[in-house]
Protein backbone atom coordinates (compact mmCIF):
# COMPACT_ATOMS: atom_id res chain seq x y z
CA UNK A 1 0.00 0.00 0.00
CA UNK A 2 1.20 3.48 -0.83
CA UNK A 3 0.26 7.00 0.17
CA UNK A 4 -0.58 5.72 3.64
CA UNK A 5 -2.44 8.14 5.89
CA UNK A 6 -3.30 7.29 9.48
CA UNK A 7 -5.58 9.27 11.71
CA UNK A 8 -7.07 8.62 15.10
CA UNK A 9 -10.07 10.24 16.69
CA UNK A 10 -12.32 9.79 19.70
CA UNK A 11 -15.08 7.28 19.07
CA UNK A 12 -17.78 9.88 19.54
CA UNK A 13 -20.54 10.22 16.97
CA UNK A 14 -19.66 13.91 16.88
CA UNK A 15 -16.64 12.83 14.82
CA UNK A 16 -18.68 10.89 12.28
CA UNK A 17 -18.74 13.79 9.82
CA UNK A 18 -15.04 14.39 10.30
CA UNK A 19 -14.25 10.71 9.61
CA UNK A 20 -16.02 10.77 6.25
CA UNK A 21 -14.54 14.15 5.34
CA UNK A 22 -11.02 12.83 5.95
CA UNK A 23 -11.75 9.78 3.78
CA UNK A 24 -13.25 12.00 1.07
CA UNK A 25 -10.22 14.31 1.12
CA UNK A 26 -7.90 11.33 0.79
CA UNK A 27 -9.94 9.74 -2.01
CA UNK A 28 -10.23 13.03 -3.90
CA UNK A 29 -6.55 12.82 -4.82
CA UNK A 30 -7.39 9.76 -6.93
CA UNK A 31 -9.92 11.71 -8.96
CA UNK A 32 -13.03 9.69 -8.17
CA UNK A 33 -16.43 10.41 -9.68
CA UNK A 34 -18.93 12.24 -7.47
CA UNK A 35 -20.82 8.97 -7.13
CA UNK A 36 -17.73 7.07 -6.00
CA UNK A 37 -16.92 9.76 -3.48
CA UNK A 38 -20.43 9.55 -2.03
CA UNK A 39 -20.16 5.77 -1.81
CA UNK A 40 -16.81 5.98 0.02
CA UNK A 41 -18.14 8.61 2.43
CA UNK A 42 -21.22 6.53 3.15
CA UNK A 43 -19.29 3.31 3.79
CA UNK A 44 -16.88 5.15 6.12
CA UNK A 45 -19.80 6.75 7.94
CA UNK A 46 -21.31 3.31 8.54
CA UNK A 47 -18.04 1.78 9.75
CA UNK A 48 -17.33 4.72 12.03
CA UNK A 49 -20.79 4.69 13.61
CA UNK A 50 -20.52 0.93 14.16
CA UNK A 51 -17.26 1.48 16.03
CA UNK A 52 -18.64 4.38 18.07
CA UNK A 53 -22.01 2.80 18.89
CA UNK A 54 -21.25 -0.92 19.10
CA UNK A 55 -17.48 -1.00 19.70
CA UNK A 56 -17.76 1.18 22.78
CA UNK A 57 -21.21 0.71 24.26
CA UNK A 58 -22.42 2.55 27.35
CA UNK A 59 -20.64 5.76 26.42
CA UNK A 60 -17.30 4.15 27.21
CA UNK A 61 -15.33 6.16 24.64
CA UNK A 62 -12.13 4.88 23.18
CA UNK A 63 -10.54 5.77 19.89
CA UNK A 64 -11.23 4.92 16.28
CA UNK A 65 -8.25 4.64 13.95
CA UNK A 66 -8.50 5.12 10.23
CA UNK A 67 -5.73 3.97 7.95
CA UNK A 68 -6.03 4.83 4.29
CA UNK A 69 -3.83 3.60 1.51
CA UNK A 70 -3.71 3.18 -2.24
CA UNK A 71 -2.90 0.09 -4.21
CA UNK A 72 -1.61 1.59 -7.43
CA UNK A 73 -2.98 2.75 -9.65
CA UNK A 74 -6.58 3.13 -8.64
CA UNK A 75 -7.66 1.04 -5.65
CA UNK A 76 -8.36 2.65 -2.33
CA UNK A 77 -8.15 0.76 0.97
CA UNK A 78 -9.58 2.14 4.21
CA UNK A 79 -9.17 0.31 7.51
CA UNK A 80 -11.32 1.45 10.38
CA UNK A 81 -10.39 -0.02 13.75
CA UNK A 82 -11.53 0.19 17.32
CA UNK A 83 -10.23 -1.44 20.48
CA UNK A 84 -13.71 -1.99 21.82
CA UNK A 85 -15.79 -5.00 22.77
CA UNK A 86 -15.47 -6.84 19.45
CA UNK A 87 -18.11 -8.85 17.60
CA UNK A 88 -18.98 -12.36 18.77
CA UNK A 89 -20.67 -13.53 15.62
CA UNK A 90 -19.42 -11.63 12.57
CA UNK A 91 -21.57 -13.50 10.04
CA UNK A 92 -24.70 -12.69 12.02
CA UNK A 93 -23.71 -9.04 12.50
CA UNK A 94 -23.36 -8.71 8.74
CA UNK A 95 -26.81 -10.05 7.92
CA UNK A 96 -29.12 -7.41 6.44
CA UNK A 97 -31.53 -5.99 9.03
CA UNK A 98 -29.72 -7.66 11.93
CA UNK A 99 -29.50 -5.28 14.85
CA UNK A 100 -28.83 -5.57 18.56
CA UNK A 101 -30.85 -2.42 19.00
CA UNK A 102 -33.96 -2.56 21.10
CA UNK A 103 -35.43 0.91 20.97
CA UNK A 104 -33.25 3.31 19.04
CA UNK A 105 -34.70 2.46 15.62
CA UNK A 106 -31.44 1.36 14.07
CA UNK A 107 -31.94 -0.35 10.76
CA UNK A 108 -29.31 -3.09 10.87
CA UNK A 109 -28.28 -2.10 7.35
CA UNK A 110 -24.77 -0.74 8.04
CA UNK A 111 -22.79 -3.69 6.71
CA UNK A 112 -25.18 -4.12 3.78
CA UNK A 113 -24.60 -0.50 2.77
CA UNK A 114 -20.82 -0.97 3.08
CA UNK A 115 -20.97 -4.13 0.96
CA UNK A 116 -23.11 -2.46 -1.69
CA UNK A 117 -20.97 0.63 -2.04
CA UNK A 118 -17.51 -0.93 -1.85
CA UNK A 119 -15.99 -3.71 -3.96
CA UNK A 120 -14.95 -5.70 -0.94
CA UNK A 121 -15.23 -5.49 2.80
CA UNK A 122 -13.42 -7.54 5.40
CA UNK A 123 -14.23 -7.71 9.09
CA UNK A 124 -11.68 -8.89 11.65
CA UNK A 125 -12.86 -8.98 15.21
CA UNK A 126 -12.20 -10.67 18.51
CA UNK A 127 -14.44 -10.29 21.54
CA UNK A 128 -12.70 -8.08 24.08
CA UNK A 129 -10.02 -6.92 21.65
CA UNK A 130 -11.79 -4.83 19.06
CA UNK A 131 -12.79 -4.77 15.43
CA UNK A 132 -11.17 -3.77 12.17
CA UNK A 133 -13.30 -3.20 9.09
CA UNK A 134 -11.38 -3.01 5.82
CA UNK A 135 -13.10 -1.29 2.92
CA UNK A 136 -11.67 -1.73 -0.58
CA UNK A 137 -12.79 0.04 -3.71
CA UNK A 138 -11.36 0.26 -7.20
CA UNK A 139 -12.08 3.59 -8.80
CA UNK A 140 -13.33 3.61 -12.36
CA UNK A 141 -11.63 6.73 -13.49
CA UNK A 142 -7.92 6.93 -13.19
CA UNK A 143 -5.87 9.85 -14.36
CA UNK A 144 -2.81 9.27 -12.18
CA UNK A 145 -1.52 11.23 -9.25
Amino acid sequence: MERVLKVQMAASLENQGLARSVAAAYASELDPTVEELTEIKTAVSEAFSNAAIHGYPDGNYGNVSMEMGTIKPDTIVIKISDKGVGIENIARAMEPLFTTDTGEERSGMGFTVMESFMDKIKVDSKPGEGTTVTLIKKLDTYYGF
Binding site: Q16, T38, T42, L97, E104, E105, R106, S107
Partner: protein
Protein backbone atom coordinates in the same frame (compact mmCIF):
# COMPACT_ATOMS: atom_id res chain seq x y z
CA UNK B 1 -28.87 18.26 9.88
CA UNK B 2 -31.74 20.70 10.29
CA UNK B 3 -35.41 20.05 9.66
CA UNK B 4 -37.81 22.70 8.44
CA UNK B 5 -41.42 21.93 9.24
CA UNK B 6 -44.42 23.15 7.32
CA UNK B 7 -48.06 22.18 7.20
CA UNK B 8 -50.34 22.01 4.21
CA UNK B 9 -53.78 20.43 3.92
CA UNK B 10 -53.26 18.90 7.36
CA UNK B 11 -50.12 17.15 6.14
CA UNK B 12 -46.89 17.81 8.02
CA UNK B 13 -43.95 18.34 5.68
CA UNK B 14 -40.53 17.71 7.22
CA UNK B 15 -37.82 19.04 4.95
CA UNK B 16 -34.43 17.55 5.82
CA UNK B 17 -31.47 19.86 5.23
CA UNK B 18 -27.83 18.79 5.04
CA UNK B 19 -26.21 15.59 6.27
CA UNK B 20 -28.24 12.78 7.83
CA UNK B 21 -26.14 10.48 10.01
CA UNK B 22 -26.27 8.66 13.34
CA UNK B 23 -24.97 11.71 15.11
CA UNK B 24 -28.15 13.66 14.37
CA UNK B 25 -30.69 10.85 14.15
CA UNK B 26 -31.93 10.83 17.77
CA UNK B 27 -32.69 14.55 17.66
CA UNK B 28 -34.34 14.26 14.24
CA UNK B 29 -36.67 11.53 15.49
CA UNK B 30 -37.61 13.52 18.57
CA UNK B 31 -38.16 16.73 16.57
CA UNK B 32 -40.46 15.04 14.06
CA UNK B 33 -42.48 13.27 16.75
CA UNK B 34 -42.86 16.52 18.63
CA UNK B 35 -43.96 18.38 15.49
CA UNK B 36 -46.50 15.67 14.62
CA UNK B 37 -48.00 16.05 18.06
CA UNK B 38 -47.82 19.82 18.03
CA UNK B 39 -49.57 20.18 14.68
CA UNK B 40 -51.96 17.34 15.42
CA UNK B 41 -51.35 16.01 11.95
CA UNK B 42 -51.53 12.31 11.17
CA UNK B 43 -49.97 12.46 7.71
CA UNK B 44 -46.30 13.10 7.08
CA UNK B 45 -44.13 13.89 4.08
CA UNK B 46 -40.38 13.52 4.49
CA UNK B 47 -38.75 15.67 1.84
CA UNK B 48 -35.18 14.65 1.06
CA UNK B 49 -34.59 17.11 -1.81
CA UNK B 50 -32.01 19.09 0.13
CA UNK B 51 -30.19 16.20 1.77
CA UNK B 52 -26.50 16.34 0.81
CA UNK B 53 -25.51 13.09 2.54
CA UNK B 54 -27.34 10.20 4.15
CA UNK B 55 -26.21 6.90 5.64
CA UNK B 56 -28.31 4.01 6.98
CA UNK B 57 -29.47 6.14 9.93
CA UNK B 58 -32.00 7.66 7.51
CA UNK B 59 -33.66 4.26 7.11
CA UNK B 60 -34.24 4.06 10.86
CA UNK B 61 -35.64 7.58 11.10
CA UNK B 62 -38.06 7.03 8.21
CA UNK B 63 -39.20 3.50 9.06
CA UNK B 64 -39.62 4.47 12.71
CA UNK B 65 -41.97 7.33 11.76
CA UNK B 66 -43.82 5.06 9.34
CA UNK B 67 -44.41 2.45 12.07
CA UNK B 68 -45.68 5.05 14.50
CA UNK B 69 -48.01 6.74 12.04
CA UNK B 70 -49.41 3.65 10.40
CA UNK B 71 -50.29 2.32 13.85
CA UNK B 72 -52.50 5.38 14.31
CA UNK B 73 -53.98 5.26 10.80
CA UNK B 74 -51.72 7.98 9.34
CA UNK B 75 -49.85 8.02 6.05
CA UNK B 76 -46.26 8.73 5.14
CA UNK B 77 -44.72 9.68 1.80
CA UNK B 78 -41.16 10.48 0.77
CA UNK B 79 -40.17 13.08 -1.80
CA UNK B 80 -36.91 14.04 -3.49
CA UNK B 81 -33.45 12.72 -2.72
CA UNK B 82 -30.33 12.09 -4.76
CA UNK B 83 -29.67 8.76 -6.41
CA UNK B 84 -27.38 7.74 -3.52
CA UNK B 85 -30.00 8.65 -0.91
CA UNK B 86 -32.69 6.69 -2.73
CA UNK B 87 -30.36 3.76 -3.25
CA UNK B 88 -29.81 3.41 0.51
CA UNK B 89 -33.55 3.50 1.21
CA UNK B 90 -34.10 1.00 -1.56
CA UNK B 91 -31.62 -1.46 -0.03
CA UNK B 92 -33.84 -1.71 3.03
CA UNK B 93 -36.99 -2.06 0.93
CA UNK B 94 -38.37 1.27 2.13
CA UNK B 95 -40.08 2.02 -1.19
CA UNK B 96 -42.03 -1.22 -1.06
CA UNK B 97 -43.99 0.14 1.91
CA UNK B 98 -43.72 3.94 1.66
CA UNK B 99 -44.83 5.86 -1.43
CA UNK B 100 -42.29 8.03 -3.24
CA UNK B 101 -42.90 11.17 -5.31
CA UNK B 102 -40.30 13.24 -7.13
CA UNK B 103 -41.36 16.54 -5.59
CA UNK B 104 -42.92 17.64 -2.34
CA UNK B 105 -45.87 19.21 -4.23
CA UNK B 106 -46.64 15.90 -5.90
CA UNK B 107 -46.43 14.17 -2.53
CA UNK B 108 -48.86 16.68 -0.98
CA UNK B 109 -51.30 16.21 -3.84
CA UNK B 110 -50.95 12.46 -3.61
CA UNK B 111 -51.63 12.28 0.11
CA UNK B 112 -54.49 14.80 -0.12
CA UNK B 113 -56.13 12.70 -2.79
CA UNK B 114 -55.75 9.56 -0.69
CA UNK B 115 -57.36 11.37 2.21
CA UNK B 116 -60.44 12.27 0.14
CA UNK B 117 -60.97 8.88 -1.49
Amino acid sequence: MDIIFGIKDNILVAEFLGEVDHHCSAKARADIDEAMEGYGSKNLIIDLSRVTFMDSSGIGIILGRYRKLSASGGRVAISGGTKAVRSILNMAGVFSIIDYMDTVDQAIEYLSRKEVS
